[in-house]
């Protein structure tokens, strides 16, 4: 379980200081998929960076299963919007990058072996096994993002952080990737914190959709999505889906009009 309590993050000091996040509160239970939506600049990426341990909060507490988060760790995997595969490594080496680091520090024997096998299994599952020796530049955008997801899952993290991972993909690939993500989550019970601009995507993927407000960034609404799983293409057409989508959009527009002074 991920808990954020009154998390604030200020960039810079003095008159130029930017409060990217203020008193952000959020709880993500184990196995849950929570989507963060909000207008540009409301601190979504900042929040993910804090959870990932890439930055430290100015104040507040971040706990993962009760343990304070201070630095990056194998318990969190992250997928970025832009291409972040290492271009000089093959798909398989990219996916095993995290494992290879731990190997040089301490050999875990059987556990390491199982994790490597897990990598190959994941590659197989997302259809990248035939491309395991290809370099990222040889893959399509969708394949590259699939490889990024596999890389993030390779160390069996407790939570998967995704920052607009499908934002740069075309509509069709995007839909494919959403279904794939849901399939993987269902299989491995992965907890996911997913940032997106796309309300439809958020409602389709999430168990909950959290709406954020800018200046200063914080969560203002938390909409539950009680739509049964597995979800498929037709889910989007259901009146229930549309109703929730409408609800989230209402919160979003409301958050934008009530800009704080």
């Amino acid at each position: 379980m991920l808990e954020a309590v009154n998390v604030s993050r200020v960039y810079g000091t003095g008159p130029d200081a930017v409060t990217a996040l203020e008193h952000m509160r959020l709880t993500v239970r184990s196995g849950e998929i929570v989507c963060l939506v909000g207008s540009s600049g409301c601190g979504k990426s900042t929040f993910l960076s804090l959870v990932a341990g890439l930055e430290t909060p100015t104040s507040g507490r971040l706990l993962l299963d009760g343990v304070p988060l201070v630095e990056p760790g194998a318990d969190r995997g992250m997928v970025f919007q832009s291409d972040s595969l290492f271009p000089w490594l093959s798909v398989r080496d990219n996916v095993q990058f995290g494992l290879s680091l731990h190997e040089t520090r301490r050999t875990h024997g059987g556990l390491m072996g199982r994790l490597y096998a897990h990598c190959d299994e994941l590659l197989e599952q997302v259809g990248l096994w035939p491309f395991r020796d290809a370099y990222p530049a040889q893959l399509s955008g969708g394949m590259r993002q699939r490889a990024s997801i596999v890389r993030a899952l390779a160390t069996r993290p407790a939570i998967l952080l995704m920052d607009e991972p499908f934002g740069a993909l075309d509509a069709q690939t995007r839909e494919e990737m959403q279904l794939l993500l849901l399939k993987l989550c269902a299989e491995y019970g992965t907890t996911v914190l997913f940032v997106t601009h796309d309300v439809e995507e958020a409602v389709f993927l999430g168990d909950r959709v959290v709406v954020m407000r800018p200046r200063p960034g914080r969560a203002v609404a938390d909409v539950a999505v009680p739509i049964a799983r597995p979800r498929d293409r037709r889910t989007r057409l259901s009146p229930e889906f549309q109703a929730i989508r409408g609800q989230v959009l209402d919160h979003l527009y409301e958050s934008m009009s009530t800009d704080s002074p």
């Binding site: 990932a52 890439l54 760790g73 194998a74 970025f80 832009s82 271009p87 000089w88 990058f97 160390t155």
Partner: protein
């Protein structure tokens, strides 16, 4: 017809690749034009041999110097000097550049200092080098070292700084510590750029050769050029300048091949 027109126009299209054969023809054309100009001007008697020796004279010089066992010796010793200085510069510049490019504390230490020496004329160091290092090989090698190390450090710093921040963040999230990020991300990611920097700087190193061999040399390509000037042996000067040019083409080719074979992941990008 439309197609043919497009094809002709595309030879001058910005950043559009042109057929290999065309590129080769243009390259060969440039050299051929120069060669023809040389032949016509020298054999035609348009320019006095003192200013422009004939190709025959240059070749005869080459044969003569080869027979006297001077030519190979000169080429060898100059290569030793250039590569010694160049390798020393590499050993210093690559780690220093990487540190200065990625750790602000090293940037603060290194960059202003490099800026300070960067504009100093390298030949100005000759008297000091002779004073400190004598008149053997040391001052010549040191001069080439000074000439290349500074630019190289700055350029390596730039290249390593250009590794995408996303890759560094990705590695951090995957649990890499600073040392692993240096080794597995910054080093690996900037290696092609570093090889390019080396290719460019090897050229700089050669341009310092004549200056370096001003220092009490008795052999070497730069020395031979300087001495030939005193004896008005223009043919020798031409021979050595052309030889240095040829060596340049050779080394450039070697670096480009290294790039092609060592970094297949870049080449694929073009296709994909």
């Amino acid at each position: 017809m439309e197609r043919a027109r497009l094809k002709r126009a595309s030879l001058f299209a910005l950043r559009e690749p042109i057929p290999r054969r065309v590129a080769l023809a243009v390259t060969v054309g440039v050299f051929a034009t120069l060669a023809v100009a040389w032949v016509v001007l020298s054999y035609g008697g348009f320019v006095r041999p003192l200013f422009l020796p004939t190709p025959t004279a240059v070749l005869e010089r080459a044969v003569f110097l080869y027979r006297e066992e001077i030519l190979v010796r000169d080429i060898w010793i100059s290569n030793v000097r250039v590569f010694s200085g160049f390798l020393m510069a590499m050993v210093v510049a690559i780690p220093l550049g990487m540190l200065a490019g990625n750790l602000p504390i090293f940037a603060a230490a290194v960059n202003p200092f490099m800026g300070f020496i960067r504009y100093m004329p390298v030949p100005a160091f000759i008297p000091l080098l002779v004073l400190y290092a004598g008149i053997d090989e040391a001052p010549k090698i040191l001069l080439i070292f000074i000439g290349t190390a500074v630019q190289m450090t700055i350029m390596v710093g730039d290249v390593t700084r250009r590794v995408q921040p996303e890759l560094i963040r990705a590695a951090m999230v995957l649990g890499a510590d600073s040392r692993e990020i240096f080794r597995k991300v910054i080093w690996r990611g900037s290696l092609p750029g570093i090889v390019d920097v080396m290719r460019i700087n090897l050229g700089f190193a050669w341009t310092y050769l004549v200056v370096a061999e001003l220092v009490a040399a008795s052999e070497g390509m730069g020395f031979r050029i300087l001495r030939s000037q005193r004896f008005l042996q223009t043919d020798t000067i031409f021979l050595y300048i052309l030889l240095i040019g040829l060596l340049g083409i050779l080394f450039d080719f070697a670096f480009r091949q290294l790039h092609r074979f060592a970094f297949p992941w870049i080449r694929e990008r073009v296709r994909g």
